[in-house]
C-alpha cells in the first residue's frame, strides 16, 4: 500500500486541530507561565549571578528564564496555540456554518428511530392539523420550525440555540485576535532587528545624549513601553526601555517637562495620591498642552499614553555637617551634597568617595507595640474596624549615601535628620550595612541638654584621646578616694586601672574590655570584675567629660541623672562606633528638596485589537454556555407521531426539556 502523497501535511493538520493537542497546549502554557512567577523577572543580571552562581546563571540565561514571557520558546508555544485555534476554526467552520443554517430535514425515519431521546404517541388527529399545532407549540418555545410533507405525513424539523455555534466562532477567533494584538505590542520587531544586527542593547551607564543611534529607536516606532524619571524643573524627550541586562533609548515625538510633583498623604501618613503637573512641547519647542497626570488618570498624546508610575528623588541638595571620626577630638566640617552625585573625602590616611543615593522627606515608622495592646482588649465581637494608628509615626527626613574606600568597597548609610525618642531619651540615628540585602544596623547617638550631639562628640574625643588619659585617671582616682588615701599606693593602683580601662575601651569598646576580662580573670570572678570595670569606666567617662568641657571652654557638666544617662549612652554609642566603622558621621542640617516623577510612556497599537478580541471572547463564552443548541423532529404519520430530540450537550436541562416536549406531544396528540 502506498501512502497518500498529502499524508504528512494532512496528519500535521489533524494533529494541530486535535483536541488532545489543544488541551496539551493549554496545559503546557499554564505550566510554562509558572516559571516566570517563581523566578523574579527582569532583575539586574548581577542579582541572578549572586543567586544561582555563574554556571546556572548562564544556563538560565540561555533558556531565557529572566524574561520568560519574551523568550523564543514561550512565544513558540503561544504561536502554536494561535495556529491550533485557527486550524480548529478552519476545520470546524464549514460544518458549523452548515449546521447553524440547516434544519436537518433530510434525516431518515430510520435514524430518527435510532435516537436515544425519542417518544412515540398514537394519534387520531390528521397529520396536517397536528403539525400546525405542534409547530405553534415549538415556536412558542423559541424554536425555528420547518414543516415538510413526507410520505403521506409531515416532518417537522426544528432547531433552537444556533447562536451557540456562533459563540464558538466568536470565542475562538477572539483567542487568535488577542494573541495577535499581544504580538503587535510585543518586541518582535526589535528582536528581529537585533538578530539582523541593526540594533544593539546599550549596557554602559552613559548620558542619554551619548547613546549611539544603534541603540536608539525612532519616534515612529509603532509600539513601545518605556519609562523615564524627570526631576522637577527638567524635561525629557526620550524614554528608556529595559532589555535583558541593558537598555534602549526611545526618542519621543514630543518632550515632557515636569513643573511639579506632589504626594498627598492621608492623615495617618500613608500616601494618598501621586500627581505630576506636566507641560508637553513639540519638537520645535512649541507648547502643546498642560496637564496633570495621576495614578489611574493617564494622559494620552499622539497615541502615546503617559502614566504616573513611580517617583524618586530628583537631586535634592543637602547641607551637611561632617563629624570626623578618625581623630580623637570633636572636629566637624561643613560639606554639601546633591543626591545622585559624588564627592571625595580625603583624610591623611585614605581617600573615600561619597555617593549620595537618596533623600526621603518622610519616613513612616512602626513605633512599638501599641497595636498589639489594642488588639488584646478587643471585644468578643472582633472590635472596632477603626484603625488605631498611634504606632505609625513620621520620623522625618532621612538621606542615604554610600562610602566607598580606596579599594572600591562600599558601605551604605541612612541617616535621619531629626532625633528619635527611644526609651524616653532622644538620639540621632544613623543606619549602616555592608550589602543592600542586609538590614540596617543603627547607631544611636545621645543628645545633650541643648538637643545636640556636640557633647557626645566632645566626650567621644576625650575618651579616645590617649594624651588626656593620665589627667582623667588622676581626677578619677582623686574623686574615688577619701583624702587620706591621696598620694598612696592605692591611688596609683586606681590610676593604673582607670588608664588601663580607658585604653582598652579606646581600642575596641566593650568588646575589648570583655576580651581582656575573659583573658585575665578566672571564670568565677568574671561577672564581678566586669561590674567593677564598668563602674570605673562610667566614672572615668564622667571625668573625661569634665576635662573635655574645660578644654572647650564650657562650664563643667552637672552631676545629675541626665548627665549620667548621657555618659552611659555615649559609652555604648562609642563602643558601637567600632562596628559602625566609618571615618565620618554626616549630620543633615538643611535640605532643598527636588522631587522626580517616574513616568511610563506606552504606545500599544495592539491594545484595541486586544480589547475587541476580549469583547468577542465575552460574547462568545456567553453564547456557548447559555445558548443551548438543540433540535427537535416530529415525524407525523397518520395515526402515529415520533418525537426525536438531540443536542450537542446532554445536560439535565436537556433531559427536562425532552420530558416536557414529550408531555406536550401527549397532550397535543389526543
Amino acid at each position: 500500500m502506498k501512502p497518500a502523497p498529502h499524508s504528512f501535511g494532512k496528519s500535521v493538520f489533524e494533529l494541530l486541530s486535535s483536541m488532545r493537542f489543544a488541551i496539551s497546549l493549554l496545559s503546557i502554557l499554564a505550566v510554562a507561565s509558572i516559571i516566570g512567577t517563581v523566578l523574579k523577572q527582569a532583575e539586574p543580571y548581577s542579582n541572578y549571578i549572586i543567586q544561582f552562581g555563574p554556571f546556572w546563571f548562564q544556563v538560565f540565561e540561555k533558556l531565557g528564564l529572566y524574561d520568560v514571557y519574551h523568550a523564543g520558546w514561550f512565544l513558540l508555544i503561544l504561536s502554536f496555540l494561535v495556529i491550533s485555534t485557527s486550524v480548529c476554526i478552519w476545520r470546524n467552520a464549514p460544518n458549523f456554518t452548515r449546521e447553524m443554517k440547516s434544519f436537518r430535514e433530510h434525516v431518515s425515519d430510520q435514524s430518527l428511530n435510532a435516537f436515544r431521546h425519542k417518544h412515540e404517541v398514537a394519534t387520531t388527529l390528521a397529520p396536517e392539523a397536528l403539525a400546525a399545532n405542534a409547530k405553534q407549540y415549538l415556536e412558542g418555545k423559541g424554536y425555528k420550525v420547518r414543516s415538510l410533507p413526507r410520505d403521506g405525513g409531515v416532518l417537522l424539523a426544528a432547531k433552537a440555540g444556533s447562536w451557540n455555534r456562533l459563540g464558538y466562532f466568536l470565542a475562538h477567533s477572539a483567542i487568535v485576535m488577542i494573541c495577535i494584538g499581544g504580538l503587535m505590542d510585543g518586541n518582535l520587531v526589535f528582536k528581529a532587528q537585533q538578530l539582523l544586527g541593526y540594533k544593539k542593547i546599550e549596557k554602559r551607564d552613559i548620558p542619554q545624549s551619548q547613546v549611539p543611534a544603534i541603540s536608539r529607536l525612532s519616534p515612529s516606532n509603532p509600539s513601545f513601553r518605556g519609562s523615564v524619571q524627570i526631576p522637577e524643573g527638567s524635561s525629557a524627550d526620550v524614554v528608556f526601555l529595559n532589555v535583558a541586562d541593558g537598555y534602549l533609548v526611545q526618542d519621543l515625538p514630543f518632550s515632557v517637562a515636569l513643573k511639579d510633583f506632589r504626594i498627598e498623604h492621608y492623615s495617618s501618613g500613608q500616601p494618598k495620591n501621586f500627581e505630576s503637573d506636566v507641560e508637553l512641547f513639540d519638537r520645535s519647542g512649541k507648547k502643546i498642552r498642560e496637564a496633570t497626570i495621576a495614578v489611574n488618570h493617564p494622559l494620552i498624546q499622539d497615541g502615546i499614553a503617559i502614566y504616573q508610575a513611580s517617583f524618586a528623588d530628583g537631586g535634592t541638595r543637602l547641607t551637611l555637617r561632617g563629624w570626623n571620626l578618625f581623630t580623637p577630638t570633636a572636629v566637624s566640617f561643613p560639606i554639601d551634597g546633591t543626591v545622585y552625585q559624588k564627592t571625595t573625602l580625603a583624610s591623611a590616611a585614605s581617600t573615600y568617595t561619597l555617593e549620595f543615593v537618596d533623600f526621603r522627606p518622610f519616613n513612616i515608622e512602626n513605633m512599638g507595640d501599641e497595636a498589639e495592646a489594642s488588639r488584646d482588649t478587643m471585644s468578643v465581637l472582633g472590635g472596632s474596624p477603626v484603625s488605631d494608628k498611634k504606632h505609625l509615626r513620621n520620623v522625618g527626613p532621612s538621606f542615604q549615601y554610600k562610602l566607598r574606600d580606596a579599594r572600591g568597597q562600599a558601605r551604605e548609610f541612612s541617616n535621619y535628620m531629626l532625633p528619635l525618642e527611644l526609651d524616653g531619651r532622644w538620639y540621632m540615628m544613623s543606619g549602616v550595612r555592608d550589602a543592600p540585602n542586609e538590614p540596617l544596623q543603627y547607631l544611636r547617638m545621645p543628645l545633650d541638654a541643648d538637643g545636640k550631639i556636640d557633647t557626645f562628640m566632645r566626650l567621644r574625643g576625650a575618651l579616645l584621646n590617649a594624651e588626656l588619659r593620665p589627667e582623667i585617671a588622676a581626677r578619677f582616682a582623686r574623686q574615688a578616694l577619701p583624702k587620706e588615701n591621696w598620694g598612696t599606693e592605692i591611688e596609683e593602683r586606681l590610676k593604673f586601672s582607670a588608664t588601663q580601662v580607658l585604653a582598652l575601651f579606646a581600642k575596641g569598646g566593650f568588646q575589648s574590655l570583655g576580651q581582656f576580662i575573659e583573658g585575665g580573670v578566672p571564670e568565677a570572678e568574671r561577672e564581678k570584675a566586669a561590674a567593677t570595670y564598668l563602674r570605673i569606666l562610667e566614672l572615668t567617662a564622667f571625668e573625661a567629660l569634665q576635662v573635655a568641657n574645660r578644654q572647650a571652654g564650657l562650664p563643667p557638666p552637672t552631676s545629675d541623672d541626665a548627665t549620667g544617662w548621657l555618659v552611659r549612652d555615649t559609652l555604648s554609642s562609642v563602643s558601637d562606633l567600632f562596628v559602625y566603622n566609618s571615618p565620618v558621621y554626616l549630620q543633615l542640617m538643611q535640605y532643598d528638596e527636588v522631587k522626580a516623577s517616574g513616568l511610563q510612556l506606552t504606545r500599544s497599537p495592539g491594545k484595541n485589537v486586544v480589547y475587541f478580541g476580549s469583547l468577542l471572547l465575552t460574547l462568545g463564552v456567553f453564547f456557548m454556555f447559555y445558548v443551548r443548541e438543540r433540535r427537535v423532529w416530529l415525524r407525523i404519520k397518520p395515526g402515529h407521531v415520533l418525537l426525536a430530540m438531540s443536542s450537542a450537550k446532554h445536560t439535565i436541562d436537556f433531559e427536562n426539556e425532552f420530558t416536557q416536549h414529550a408531555q406536550a406531544l401527549d397532550a397535543l396528540a389526543k
Binding site: 516566570g36 513601553r225 472582633g382 463564552v621 397532550a667
Partner: protein
C-alpha cells in the same frame, strides 16, 4: 391542553406586582444613594450605580429570592446608618450597633451563622433529616443577609472615618474573604433551589467555613479588620467591577471543587445514598464551572483594562496576572475535555478539586509568596 399550547407569555407579562414593587424599590434606592452620596462619586461611579439599578432589578426577576434579600439588607443597613447619627463612636454605645449590626458585629454574626449552617447541613445529611437541612438553608440565608449588612455598613463606616478614606469594602484580603463567603453561599443557594436538593450544602458550606476560619484568624491574630485607606493604585472605579467579578469566579470554582469531592466520595460509595445522584452532582459541577469561567473571563479582561489605566500596560506578566491566566487556562482545558471529548466522571471531579488548589494559589499564594505589582493585601 390549552395551557401547553400557549406561547409562553413575554417576559414583561410574566412579572408579578411584587416584581414591579421590587423594581420600584431598587430604583428608589438608586436615586436615594445618588442624591445622598453622589458628591463622593466620580462620573464613572455614578454610571456604575445607574447601571447597577437595572442589573439588580433583572437579577431579582430572574432569581426571585434575591428580592427579599435585597430589601432586608437595605432596610437593616439603612437602620444601622441612622443609628450612627454621623458619629463613629456610636459603634461602641448604641445597642444595635454594638451587638448586631455595626460592620464588625454583623460580620462576626455572619461567621457564626455560617458555622451553624455547616453543622446543620452535615447533621441533616447524615441523619437524613430534611428539616435540619432546611434549617441549614435558613441559617445560610441569614448569614448572607448579615454579611451583606456588614459590608454595606463597613462602606459607610469608612466614610465616617474620613471622607478621603471611604471606599467600597472590596479592597483588601479581609473584605474580599467576606465577599467570597457571600457570593459562594448565594450561588449555592441558587443551585439548591434549582435542583431541589440540599445535600450538597454540607460540602459547599465546608469551603465557606474554611474562609470563615481564615477571617477569624485574620481578625484576631492580625487585626486585619481595621479599615485602611486605599493605596493610590486602588483608588479607581474599576475596582468596583473587577473585584466582584473575580469573586464570582473564585466562588464558583470553589463550589465546583467541593462538588468534586462529593462526587468522588459518592462514586466510591461513601455517603452515596445520602448525596444526590452522580449525574446531578456532575451537572451542577459543570454549571458552576461555566458560570465561574464566564465571570473569570470578564474579571480578567476588566483587570487588564484597569492595568492599562493604572500601570500603563494591559498585560505586564505580573505574578497575579499570570496566575489568573493559569487558572483560566486550567478551566478552559477542563471545559474542553468535558464538552468536546465528552469526558465525565472521577477524572473531571479530581480535576475540579485540583483546580481549587490552583485557584487558591492565585488568590492567596501569590500574595503570600510572590511579589509584584499587586502588592497589597499581604499576609
Amino acid at each position: 391542553m390549552e395551557l401547553v399550547l400557549n406561547r409562553p407569555a413575554p417576559l414583561l407579562k410574566r412579572l408579578s406586582l411584587l416584581d414591579w414593587l421590587f423594581a420600584a424599590i431598587v430604583a428608589a434606592s438608586g436615586i436615594f444613594t445618588l442624591s445622598r452620596f453622589g458628591e463622593y462619586m466620580d462620573i464613572y461611579e455614578k454610571a456604575i450605580l445607574l447601571a447597577a439599578v437595572p442589573s439588580l432589578v433583572v437579577f431579582g426577576w430572574f432569581w426571585k429570592p434575591f428580592r427579599p434579600l435585597f430589601i432586608v439588607v437595605g432596610a437593616i443597613s439603612l437602620f444601622a446608618v441612622s443609628q450612627y447619627q454621623g458619629n463613629l463612636a456610636r459603634m461602641e454605645e448604641a445597642f444595635f450597633l454594638k451587638y448586631l449590626i455595626s460592620s464588625q458585629a454583623a460580620i462576626m454574626w455572619m461567621c457564626a451563622l455560617f458555622g451553624l449552617a455547616t453543622l446543620a447541613y452535615w447533621g441533616g445529611m447524615l441523619a437524613r433529616s430534611e428539616f435540619t437541612m432546611k434549617t441549614g438553608s435558613a441559617l445560610t440565608w441569614s448569614a448572607v443577609a448579615l454579611g451583606f449588612v456588614g459590608l454595606m455598613v463597613r462602606w459607610y463606616e469608612s466614610y465616617l472615618i474620613g471622607t478621603d478614606i471611604g471606599h467600597i469594602p472590596v479592597s483588601n484580603l479581609y473584605e474580599v474573604f467576606v465577599l467570597f463567603c457571600l457570593i459562594t453561599a448565594m450561588m449555592y443557594l441558587y443551585y439548591e433551589a434549582r435542583y431541589q436538593t440540599r445535600q450538597m450544602g454540607a460540602f459547599v458550606l465546608l469551603v465557606i467555613s474554611a474562609a470563615v476560619g481564615f477571617i477569624l484568624w485574620y481578625t484576631f491574630d492580625r487585626g486585619a479588620h481595621e479599615i485602611q485607606p486605599l493605596v493610590p493604585a486602588l483608588k479607581s472605579w474599576w475596582m468596583k467591577l473587577h473585584v466582584p467579578a473575580n469573586f464570582v469566579g473564585y466562588g464558583a470554582f470553589s463550589i465546583a471543587a467541593m462538588l468534586g469531592v462529593a462526587y468522588l466520595l459518592a462514586a466510591r460509595g461513601i455517603l452515596a445514598s445520602r448525596l444526590p445522584k452522580l449525574e446531578v452532582i456532575d451537572d451542577v459541577m459543570y454549571k458552576v464551572v461555566a458560570v465561574g469561567f464566564a465571570f473569570f473571563t470578564i474579571a480578567t479582561i476588566l483587570g487588564a483594562m484597569w492595568a492599562a489605566d493604572a500601570w500603563g500596560g494591559y498585560w505586564s506578566w505580573d505574578p497575579k496576572e499570570t496566575w489568573a491566566l493559569i487558572v483560566w487556562l486550567n478551566y478552559a482545558a477542563w471545559l474542553h475535555i468535558r464538552l468536546v471529548k465528552g469526558l465525565r466522571g472521577p477524572m473531571l471531579a479530581w480535576w475540579a478539586v485540583i483546580g481549587l488548589v490552583v485557584t487558591t494559589f492565585a488568590f492567596l499564594g501569590v500574595n503570600m509568596f510572590l511579589s509584584g505589582l499587586h502588592s497589597y493585601g499581604e499576609l
